[in-house]
Amino acid sequence: MIAKMTDLSDVRRPIDKANGLPNAHYTDETVFAEEGQALLARQWAGLAVAAEVPEVGDAKPISFLGMPLLLLRDRAGQVRVFQNICRHRGMILVSEPHRIEGAIRCPYHSWCYGTDGRLVSTPHVGGPGQNTHEGIDKSTLGLVEVRNHVWRDVVWINISGDAAPFEEVHADLIARWAEFDQPLYHGGMDSAFDLEVHCNWKLAVENYCESYHLPWVHPGLNSYSRLEDHYHIEAPDRFSGQGTRVYRQFTSADGGRFPDFDGLSEAWDTAAEYISVFPNVLLGVHRDHAFAILLQPAATDRTVEQVHLYYATPETDADLRAANAALWKTVFEEDIFVVEGMQAGRRAPGFDGGRFSPAMDGPTHLFHDWVAARIEAHRGTAQAAE
């Protein structure tokens, strides 16, 4: 079934002639569902961070695009993602985050699964006290696993199961940030927060990847990080973002700082980069901390931004950590009126998607072009299947 068609030809033009995505891509339920498949299910989308299940047996139910999923850390310490339903009657298995001590027991008829997804017991399936039946082959009835990959502590999932391997899709970004390929330590409870925003998830991506708005929306940054200190990051078909050449370490009133990541080259003394990894993960790296923002699309006009801050060492100063989290929260909150204002603007009939600054909106146009290309490919596949 092909969703209501939108004309994306203007989006795919060169930036100086292109328009942004049509209104329907921010307001229409059918297009939202189509994008769920084309832009999220068929790509490597961010679901969670591994730090949400720090210990063996930790399990957390997560709804993603309406799908009930279960994030857990198995007995071998590996992060796994399964459909959170029993293979018997489709009952939700885990309804609250908790630690699995032994097996996952379905609360309905008590079919039991290992943390590796194996179906290990089917009590009374052959009648009272008889736990086998020739019609029930346990080896074929394990939990349905969702393909996943952990990078920079983000748990990326490919729901369709047929995307190219993560390391292949994001080889250039992995190489770009190879110096940061070292242990990341989540700052803990005081370094994670959610922001619920009334906008389509794509507007958060678009706002994050460009620096054009910084002097107007984040005037506090102007004193040391002026627009001309920023540069575009543009990797067509993969990611886009912005970098700064004048990053200054966060410093407390008494001069305290976070430890740096090991062995960074000199360029990172004052550089920092902020990249939108398509579709829905926003990453930032600095010499002394990093962050990941996962955008969870809740509705056409509602997104939950899940923010996680990381450091180079397991122990850091709690006050410094709290102050850094508060600083970033202020910055991200400054963006809310913008993304919500653009969402409201998408209700203007006949809005043509807007025109881009050829000089300043490259990263945003690059994302729109990625969206349009993925939707066109998805529509092509759907048409071929009909």
Binding site: I104, P128, G129, T132
Partner: protein
Amino acid sequence: MSDLESRLLAAHACGDRAALVTLYSAAAEDAAEDEARYFYLTQAYVYALEDGHPQAPALRARLVAAGRESA
């Protein structure tokens, strides 16, 4: 209601899996017929499995030996 039944209901009510393992095991020992015995043993085994209880392997072994669980 027997004392065992009362204690089982109480254990269910508060989700005390270790107690459920003990009490269903006791019910199995008291059962007069195989069907009831293996019903209770299965109950004990499932809660042991969920709990990561040390008795889980032994309970499983009894069920397997009786042809009530796959090896």
